[in-house]
Symmetry: C2
Subunit: 293 residues, 2 copies
């Protein structure tokens, strides 16, 4: 829009919640037909400064943009997949999703190292307890951040067995304490999931909420009809660090991660052992959101 | 010490308290006789990473130091001085001190823009109320950060009138709420200052504590015998931002600054109007601390 209006560059105020002059960064996209102009995020403090200078009566504030980033061609990479075969119904799958890649500034501890750790540990606990009736498949997706191509590739490759995916659960809300689960669905699916999460009341993680979206990596599964569930975490501090250089492993708390592991383990095993599987995603929730098209 | 032991460079873990991967920086000095090696602060997160790599069994971790800083020759600059002549004893001075310069990464809002604002506004209030018996002199010192040369120059230039300085008060602890005052002295000076701060009980800023040091800019005054007082602020969050790029004006709270202004105004006016001046700095506190020599 800025380029169409004749701008030679554009700045956005960071949407992060930290007060440490860090530019919270995120994805942007060009429309094919418009000029490609430089676009950058500035910290909230620096955005405030620009506003103060303008409010002080300046007609214009000169900003020099010196940027080193560039867009490089795609390169081959891989999702990482492992599974615990089901003891009775091995062709039916409960998929546990997180993503391996991270935004470039930090090391990706909360986005999404935490999710990978939670899913791997939940699967380990289920295997240690003798497995489940259905297959538990952990998929650590590649390239969530730059367009979810890992999720798309998985959906394409496993197109023929979409009906065998009885549920997909994604963990991509950081490492703070779990609050419950979101489900793309309505009744009776919501009630069925509530029955499974009921034991999580002891850690106050039993809440089941209705959602239009359960996780970026499993969007392709969701629109293919796979019942899609998101682990909900306390995100109070998430955007203090998300997509900044400060997304590092010290932000994770071992005890809080353990609560998320417990929550996912209960739900994954519950779904994998259940007599009745969840109803498929409602038709109204099978359309791709605009950003994922 | 590192250079003497043969090091080609040295890193220090940042002592800041923020968890945002910011390197808290500070002064360093070389001994004349030893090789000058590069020295840098790394964020706590990066220091943790180095420790984890070493704890994981690595014999050594390679670090590439790419630094752009250099030490340039001193240049002329100025303290900024203004005063409200005393109505009865104009040759006697209560000095209000803060420093104009700041560390280079941020804009110096908490260190020491806040102090400058507090002292200017306290002086403005005293003038608006008709002034005081003695002269109120505000000195915004230059170059506190790189060796307090502004403070040294003031002491040298005003050597002949040190006895006329009845007190110096420094504000250099940021902009958070005031907790009281520190005084380099003992009884009866402490009790005399407590009598002046008593009305500040209404804002819980009446505490008077004994100190060996009241402020970097007024160290020269202190060792010359001038009764030296420091405004004490709540520093709980001070080292989250101090000497980082995040020391910006949004960190200041108007209401908390106003409380500091009130506290300084009461003490400055109280000392300027007092019948008896405070006893001079005790002999034991007239030696320069090692860092200030």
């Amino acid at each position: 829009l800025a380029a169409k209006a004749g701008a030679v560059g554009a700045l956005i105020r960071s949407v992060g919640t930290g007060a440490y002059r860090l530019a919270h960064t995120g994805a942007m996209a060009y429309e094919d037909a418009t000029p490609k102009i430089p676009f950058a995020a500035v910290s909230a403090e620096d955005a405030d400064l620009l506003h103060r200078l303008l409010a002080g009566g300046k007609q214009a504030v000169n900003v020099r943009m010196k940027m080193g980033c560039e867009k490089l061609p795609d390169q081959p990479s891989s999702n990482v997949v492992g599974e615990i075969p089901g003891t009775e119904l091995p062709s039916e799958i409960v998929l546990l999703a997180a993503h391996l890649d991270s935004w470039d500034l930090g090391t990706g501890a909360i986005d999404d190292g935490a999710g990978c750790a939670i899913m791997l540990e939940a699967a380990r606990l289920i295997r240690a307890a003798g497995g489940a009736r259905r297959t538990i498949r952990v998929v650590l997706f590649m390239n969530e951040e730059q367009g979810t191509s890992g999720g798309r590739a998985y959906t394409e490759r496993h197109r023929a067995e979409m009906d065998k995916h009885v549920a997909a659960i994604e963990a991509d809300e950081g490492g703070a304490r779990p609050l419950g689960f979101s489900l793309v669905g309505d009744e009776p699916a919501l009630g069925m999931l509530r029955a499974i999460t009921a034991p999580l009341e002891t850690i106050r993680a039993q809440a089941v909420t209705q959602a239009h979206f359960a996780g970026a990596d499993i969007t392709g599964l969701q629109v293919s009809g796979v019942p899609s569930i998101g682990l909900s975490n306390d995100m109070t501090n998430y955007f203090d660090w998300h997509h900044t250089a400060a997304d590092t492993v010290d932000k994770l708390d071992r005890e809080e991660l353990a609560l998320s592991v417990a929550a996912v383990t209960v739900v994954a095993q519950g779904l994998a052992d259940a007599k009745h599987t969840l109803p498929r995603t409602p038709a109204a929730s099978r359309e791709l959101p605009s950003w994922a098209r």
